[in-house]
Structure formats: C-alpha cells, structure tokens
C-alpha cells in the first residue's frame, strides 16, 4: 500500500447516519451488523457513491468489554461487519478498514484494565477482521497511547495487514488521558504503523495545528478525519455544513496528507464535497526525519543539546533503596523519581536488579507506577533481555535501553527486542576483554555495535554510544582516551553519546571538583546524555553553564531564569580534626524539641534535631522517647478536633523526616533497621480510590511500622500471598464504595481460609463498626489515628 501515491478518501460518520435512519439500537450499535445488515450496507454504499475508496466497518465498539452484555460474540459482530463492508465495497473497487475504538475500560494504574487484557481484546477483533477480509486495521478515536500500543502490538504479532492509528486530541494538543500529539506520532512511528493521524473531537480548523505538529516529528503518511464541528445539546445538529467542511479541509490537502474523511456529524454530502475538493491534490512524501527522539506519553526529548539522565533509581550500593525494593515500597522509588524530575533530569534511568528478586515483575511494576507520577522518558536498565522486553512492552512511549556491549551474544539477544518495540539503545564500548585502554579500540567496538544495530534495522538516530569512564585515581593517563573516543564516534558514525561520569573521581577527595570538570570536558567533546545525580547542584550547574557557553541557551535565557536571585551555598574547606570529625556549628534550634517541630509539621527542623541527637543518644531511644510520643500528642489533638486531617498528615511527614535520618544512620552503621512490625495495606479489588489507604499508610509508617503497600484494586489472593511471604500479623483493607465492600469480605474470607494467623482491620467511607464485624474483620478503624492504635494493640 503506497500511501504517497494518491489521496485516499475515507468515509464519514457511521453513528450519525444510524441515528438519522432511526436504526433500532440494541445494547450496542454494532449489533446492527447482525440484526439489520441492510441499514449498515446502505450507509456504506452512500459513502462509496460519494467518492470514498476506503470505508470503515461498523465495529468501533465491538470489543469484549463493550460486548459483554450483547447476545452476539465479538467474532460474530466483527465478521458480519467486515462482510457487509466488503460486499458494499466490491463494486467500487474500494478497500475496507477494520474500525477499532477504545476498549472503554481504563488501563492501569489509573483503572483496572490490564495491558495484556487490552491486547487480547484487540487481538480477538483483529483475528476475526482479517479472516473476514479486512484490508487495513484502523485504531481510531484513541486517547490512551498505552492502550493503542496494546492494539498495535496485537496487530503486529497476529496480522500482516497495514495499520492506521488516529487519536483524538483536545485543545492544546493532548488527549483526555494526557497523551501529547508529538509523543503519539513518535511512539506509533517507532512501533512501525503505516499511517498516523487525528480523528473526532473537533472541527478541521482546530485539528490543523496538531497535524502540523505531527508532521514535524514523523515522516509517516498522515490520516485526518475531523468532526463537523460540535453538536448542539438541544437539537443534536452539528455546526458545519458540507461545503464549509470541505473548505476547512483544504489546508490538510495542501500539507500533503494521505487520507482524508470525516468523523461525527459528517454525512455522505460532506464526503462528496471533500472528494471533489481533494481531486486537485496529491500526498506529499516528506524528507526522512532523522531526529533522535525519546518520549513518554506526556513529554518528548529531541536530542539536540545536553539532556541529563537521572541515575538514582538503582539499588547498587544503596542499602535503603534495596530495603525499599524488598519491602515493595514503590512510593520510595516514586519519590526518588519526582525529586530527580524536580532537580532537572530529562530522562530517568530505572534499574531494579537485586539478587533474589523477581526483576521482571518488579521492573514492569516500577515502570508502570513511575509513569503515573513523572512524565520523563525512561531508560530501561537491565542486562536481562526478558526484563527489557517486559518493560518495553508496557512502556508508554519510546524508551531508551541500557545497554548492550560489543559482544555478539549480547547484541543478538537484545537488539531484536529494541527494534521490535521501537526503542533506542545504549552501546557500551567494551567486550569480553573488558574496557580497552585506547580510544581507537573503543571506537572499533562502537563500529561493531553500530553495524549490528543497522543489521537489525535500528537507525543511527536511535543509537547512543557510551565510551565509558575510567577512574582517574587508577588509570589517570586513560582519562583523555574516553574524551577522544567520544569525539571520534560522533564524527565517524553520527551517533549520539551517553556517559556515566561520577566514577572518574572514585577514591579521590572532594569528588565534586573532579566530576564537574570531567563532565565539562566530556560535554565539550560531544557528550549528549550524561548520567548523573540531578540533585547535585554543581553538576547541573555545569550543564546549564555549558548550554550558555556553547551558544545553545540563546541569550542565556534559561540560565538567568533558573539562577537569577539565587546564591551559592558557601563552599568552605574545613580540615578534619584528629578524630575524623569536622567541627560542626551547634544546631540553631537546640532549645526547641522534636515534639514541637512535629506538631508544627516542620520536617527539616525535626530531621536536623534528630541528627544532632544521634551524636549522643541511642537511635531507638529517640524513636520511643521523642518521635512516637510526639505523634501520640498530635493524634490525641486530632481526635479532639483541635487539629484536622492536613495537620495530622503534615505532622506525620515531619516525623517521617526524623525517622529517615535514623534509618540512614542505622544503614551507615550496618545496624539492623528498626521496625515495630510489618503491616500489609491494600485497597480491595474493584476499588481504585486509594486516598484513604494512603493517609493510613503515612501515619502507620511514621509510627515506625513497615508498611507493605499492595496498592489499589488488589485481588484477595495477592493479599494472602503478601501476608505469607512477609509473615505479617496485621492487614489493613480499604474500600470506598458499597459495591466494593463485598470484595473486602472476600479478601477476609481468603485470609481465613488460608489459615493465616493475622488480624484484619478495615476502613472506608461506607463502613461502620457493626458492618466490619459482619464481614469478619477483627477491627474497624474509623480514621488513620485509630489504625495506629490498632497496630499498637496488635503489634506493640
């Protein structure tokens, strides 16, 4: 199918035409394919008569979710839909597109729909559609990039038919779920679809800027199917007539799009007018787009300057991070991600590899959860091709993969996965023999990597070479070999480069001096993506300064915006005393108590004071004599109504800041961590409201309990599993709706059936003490404070 040959005229609205004919709508309009095929065929014919040469089947909502109450199966409805369209199209020599709208349910983590289930539902439609003779697979009116990715993968893995994807954007160029125009085009192009575009939502005029933006980031054929404006709520009539519509479509034709048609409100007259206007135009094949993009669904990076990859989501050498992963504390990881985003990272490296951990399960969960709180593109960091594939599959956007090296065994394992999911890849210039000393040998390895990438169909624009940093303290004369290699791989292969810089200073004092200088040298040599800690002001400052000096930050605009009216923290060089301690100024808040800080919700001050106290107080004493009593006071005031919810939470967070200082102190001294016991928390199956549970979590954690948070929409078996795995003695279940209290009861039954010796506390808006007893709970917690009282009773 050459989509740059001549303009393809699509059809107009199906729904609007069905309503016009008073078609008896059953549970879903797609049932008409079986109950009244003649009406559907008549509509198809009317569009073909008007000039359509690619018509869409009446199967928009014929998926398993929307058909679940129908008397017909998905296969029956889809097959009939394609059959009718084929019959109608045959005399005209026209093609048939299998129309697939959104599933209708909401994907995780915002809803309950699993990615794999969305995949299966689209697959079912695709198999039936292809078998019945569809010519093109069309995903239309899509709003969630991840959902449509499930569909595209289902298409690619089960069919050879061409794939079109059109999405529905609102004013501002984002879909209802936040997908950005550019991200949609970049991601879909990387997945290998045949046409991308826009449909529905607004009239042609409003959609034009979005199509222009798509054209900027992709060289794919473009498909456009706008509405005839908006319907009137009283009369149901659409604003725009056929001639106006055709006139407004002219700019798209001038732009050189490949397929045009109409969506809601457009009738055969509209298509007739459009088809006669389009006669005078041809599609325009754009120049090849060689920009290097990475994206999430909400943001994209066009690699033309230095972009920082945040390095902190990585357990290597970080005791607290390891512990968080083992306890399934995803919030800890989320916080690390948000802090790095706030610090100015533009891409986040994600590594969750730990011995004795299910890396694949954890990686997919972390990727999913991170994408709900940060909009930065991710760098999937693992050496296991299965882990990489699992993460790329559910990644919402175009990711970077970290990494391959010069070994064929590695390249042949990982590159096909990178290609299949349209990701970009980092190649390390090392092989079984380690890191070569000389730049020349590293360049040789880079050449091999680039060649293997090309062999697998990965374009140069998606290759990032890491020339690797050696430690200056050990291999001083090789420091410049790295810089030399960066210059050469850029010049010789046209690739981008990436480099982790902080190893350079290993073993040397005041590492920041060495690190920032090396970073600056590397950027000058052509480093595009440094991997570093974005919360380090000096390193970020070096990047920002480089952009000024290299004339990239024009007029120093960004630099000034960020640094004007700021002052540097004083850099002082203080010699250590004989004991190895630096003499620190006494804390200014010495006369205030931790209790006061916690009561006022002042986390920083509480943390400082705890730090000072640790010099001469046992950590456990600080917990038991300071932190917990302070929380008790706050809790009592909450119960009396002297303070209310936000204040309770602020105090809890202040206490958490104190706890964190103690945890870090213990981790540093290799002491066992303190925990007053483990508690499993979950919002039960079917319920996605988890604010209540999160409030309880904050409070419990800050009473010193380790909370294993299973999240929302948690099936009973998962709760049972977690209780077993962590030998937990107390479970907290939350449900907001009356409809989901039954799954709470189910979960309690499952826990009892498994014969687990644990207590269950329940809470939620619709629950009462009596009701809690009825469903078999041991405790009813009316608020977060009570949950802490219960924990104290059960766990001490």
């Amino acid at each position: 199918m050459n989509l740059f040959e001549k303009i393809i005229i699509l059809d107009g609205a199906m729904g609007t035409e069905l309503v016009k004919r008073n078609a008896p709508m059953g549970k879903i309009p797609e049932e008409l394919n079986l109950t009244h095929p003649e009406i559907v065929k008549e509509i198809h014919t009317s569009y073909l008569e008007s000039g359509s040469n690619l018509i869409y089947t009446n199967t928009f909502g014929a998926n398993a979710y929307k058909c679940k109450h129908s008397n017909y199966s998905v296969t029956e409805i889809v097959s009939a839909g394609v059959r009718i369209a084929k019959e109608a199209a045959r005399p005209y020599g026209a093609l048939v597109g299998l129309s697939m709208g959104t599933i209708g349910d909401i994907l995780e983590p915002f809803g309950n729909l699993k990615f794999d289930d969305a995949y299966e539902m689209y697959k079912e439609m695709i198999l039936a559609g292809e078998k019945a003779g569809a010519d093109v697979l069309v995903f239309e009116t899509q709003t969630d990039l991840l959902e449509v990715k499930a569909g595209v993968l289902a298409a690619k893995e089960n069919s050879k038919l061409p794939v079109f994807v059109t999405m529905t954007f609102e004013a501002g160029g984002r879909t209802f779920t936040g997908t950005l125009v550019e991200s949609a085009a970049i991601t879909l192009a990387s997945l290998g679809v045949d046409g991308v575009g826009v449909n529905c939502s607004l009239g042609p005029e409003e959609l034009l800027p979005f199509v222009k933006r798509m054209r900027e980031v992709t060289d794919l054929p473009i498909v456009v199917k706008p509405n005839a404006g908006l319907p009137d709520p009283v009369t149901g009539k659409y604003a725009m007539g056929p001639e106006d519509f055709a006139k407004q479509m002219v700019p798209f034709l001038e732009l050189g799009v490949s397929c045009v048609g109409g969506c809601c409100g457009t009738a055969p007259e509209y298509i007739k007018a459009l088809s006669s206007t389009a006669k005078n135009y041809k599609p325009v094949k754009p120049e090849k787009n060689s920009n290097s993009y990475l994206c999430s669904s909400r943001a994209f990076v066009d690699v033309k300057r230095v972009h920082v990859i945040g390095e902190r989501i990585n357990p290597t050498g970080k005791k607290l991070f390891k512990e968080a992963l083992l306890n399934h504390d995803i919030d800890y990881v989320k916080n690390q991600a948000m802090e790095q985003a706030d610090g100015g990272a533009e891409i986040l490296d994600v590594n969750v590899g730990l011995p004795k951990i299910d890396e694949k399960a954890l990686m997919t969960e972390v990727v999913k959860e991170l994408q709900s709180v940060v909009s930065l593109p991710l760098n999937i960091d693992s050496s296991d091709a299965n882990v990489i594939e699992a993460a790329l599959r559910i990644y919402n956007g175009k990711a970077l993969v970290n990494s391959v090296n010069g070994e064929d065994e590695v390249l042949d394992r990982i590159l096909p996965v990178v290609k299949k999911y349209g990701a970009a890849v980092i190649g390390l210039t090392m092989n079984a023999g380690g890191i070569p000393s000389l730049a020349e040998d590293r360049v040789k390895i880079a050449k091999h990597i680039v060649e293997r990438c090309h062999h697998y169909g990965i374009d140069t624009k998606d290759i990032y070479i890491d020339c690797l940093t050696l430690t200056a303290g050990v291999q001083q004369k090789e420091v410049y070999e790295t810089l030399k290699a960066i210059r050469r791989v850029k010049a010789e292969f046209g690739v981008h480069t990436v480099l982790g810089v902080s190893n350079i200073s290993f073993g040397l004092p005041r590492r920041e001096f060495i690190n920032t200088t090396f970073l600056t040298l590397a950027m000058e040599a052509g480093l595009d993506l440094p991997i570093l800690n974005p919360n380090n002001a000096a390193m970020m400052g070096a990047v920002d300064a480089f952009h000024v000096l290299a004339n990239i930050d024009r007029g120093s605009e960004k630099y000034v915006a960020k640094y004007a009216d700021t002052v540097a923290e004083k850099i002082v060089t203080v010699k250590k005393d004989a004991s190895g301690k630096t003499s620190e100024p006494a804390t200014e808040n010495a006369e205030k108590t931790i209790g006061e800080f916690i009561k006022k919700g002042l986390g920083d001050s509480a943390a400082k004071l705890v730090k000072a106290m640790l010099e001469n107080t046992d950590p456990l004493d600080i917990v038991n004599n300071e932190l917990i009593p302070a929380l008790d006071v706050v809790g009592a005031e909450f119960e009396k109504g002297k303070i209310f919810l936000p204040q309770l939470l602020n105090s809890a967070q202040a206490a958490e800041a104190g706890f964190n200082v103690i945890k870090e102190h213990l981790a540093k001294n290799n002491a066992a961590t303190i925990s007053k016991g483990k508690i499993v928390l979950a919002t039960v199956k079917g319920d996605v409201h988890d604010i209540g549970k999160n409030i309880v979590k904050t409070v419990l954690q800050n009473y010193g309990y380790t909370v294993i948070d299973l999240g929302k929409d948690v099936p009973p078996e998962k709760v049972v599993e977690a209780v077993k795995e962590h030998s937990v003695k107390l479970v907290g279940l939350s449900a907001l709706m009356t409809t989901t209290v039954s799954s709470m009861e189910e979960t309690i039954k499952a826990l009892r059936a498994a014969g687990l010796d644990c207590k269950v506390m329940v809470g939620g808006a619709v629950l009462t003490a009596e009701f809690a007893k009825q469903i078999g709970a041991d405790f009813y917690a009316k608020d977060a404070k009570q949950s802490a009282d219960i924990a104290k009773e059960v766990l001490g």
């Binding site: 009283v234 919700g601 109504g641 409030i695």
Partner: protein
C-alpha cells in the same frame, strides 16, 4: 466553560477535610490558598449535556429515544413530573487525579487539601453548567441535580448516562465495571426542567 475556586469556596473545602472550627494556623491557611491556585491551574474542565423528553411508565421514567429507564421511588419523587430533563456530565480531567496521586506520595498533608479542592471544584463546575443550561432554555430552569446511587436510583444507571452522553468521546469520562468514573473528579446528573 471554566470555573475558578476563590475565597467563597474555602468554607466548603474545609468542611470536606473534616475541619471543626478551631483556629487555622498560618501554614494551613497558606496551603489552602496554594492548593486552590494549583487546582485552578490544572483543572481541564469538560462539560457535556443533552436535553430529553421524559416519559412516565408504571415501572420507571424513560428518556425518550433512548433505552434508559430510571427506576425507583426517589427519582420519581425528585423529578416531580417534569416534562423534560437535562442530562449532564462534568469533569476536572485526568491531570487533576494525577497531581493528587503525586502529592499523596510527596506531601500527603497538601494532597488531601488539593483533593478537597477538587470535590468543591467539580460541584462548582456542575453549577456553572446548570447556569448555562438555564440561560439556553429560559424561561425553563433546571432543578436540583440527582445522580445514580442517590436514594434508590440504581448505580447501574450510571452506565446509561455515560453511554447516552457519549462521555468517553465528548469529555473523556469512562466507567469501570463497578460503575466508578474516571477521571475520579467527575459528576453525572439528571435535572428536571421547570417553569
């Protein structure tokens, strides 16, 4: 259509937070103002409505030209034999849910305030839409909003409302199998029309 939270909404927001009239600290006062500003910034309002003629049957009240029948005594009492009704849906959009989600991890004390702002904002948005409907349909006016799950109007009715208003396409509101709306800060309702 858009709305802004302002001074006049403070009382309601505090009520949603369980505030019982003690003195507000400057920190909480400040957080409340910041949360309202943030809410105003991130709300991506969506609103859709349609007009229907009502048909009164033995077993329920029908919306003409649809398969939707409203069951139960409460809705019958509520509509007070109105001839027509407006069906409406408003939402604050996905961004709002995401920001609350982020804040509940980062700063839960502030997160709950923003969440309460959302509850107030979506009600205010529904009020604004009703105002718009009233202007369009004058001299008739919409009565008090009634939603699925109120009284004995089955929650399942939510499915009909969402389908009839085509909310997935028009404002991006979808329903899960337990009839929960997404985005979460969304309201659907029916209002009778009266002289």
């Amino acid at each position: 259509m858009n709305i802004e939270l302002d001074e006049s909404d403070k009382k309601e927001i505090l009520r949603y937070l369980g505030y019982r009239g003690t003195e507000l600290t400057p920190k909480i006062e400040g957080d409340l103002l910041r949360a309202m500003d943030l809410a105003n910034e991130i709300i991506r309002p969506g609103a859709v409505w349609k007009l229907f003629t009502l048909e009164y049957f033995e077993d329920g009240i029908g919306l003409k030209n649809t398969s939707c029948v409203l069951k139960g005594e409460s809705i019958r009492k509520h509509l007070k034999e109105a001839d027509r009704c407006a069906l409406l849906c408003v939402t604050l959009g996905r961004d709002f849910d995401e920001e609350v989600e982020r804040l509940m991890v980062k700063k839960p004390g502030f997160g709950v305030i923003l969440n309460a702002c959302g509850i107030q904002a979506v009600e205010k948005l529904a009020d604004a839409l009703q105002h718009e409907i009233n202007e369009r349909l004058a001299p008739q006016k919409t009565g008090v909003r009634f939603s699925p799950g109120y009284g004995d109007l089955p929650l399942e009715t939510q499915g009909d409302f969402i389908r009839i208003l085509n909310t997935e396409k028009t404002v991006g509101v979808r329903l899960n199998e337990n009839y929960l709306m997404n985005p979460m800060k969304s309201v659907t309702a029916i209002c009778g029309l009266y002289e």
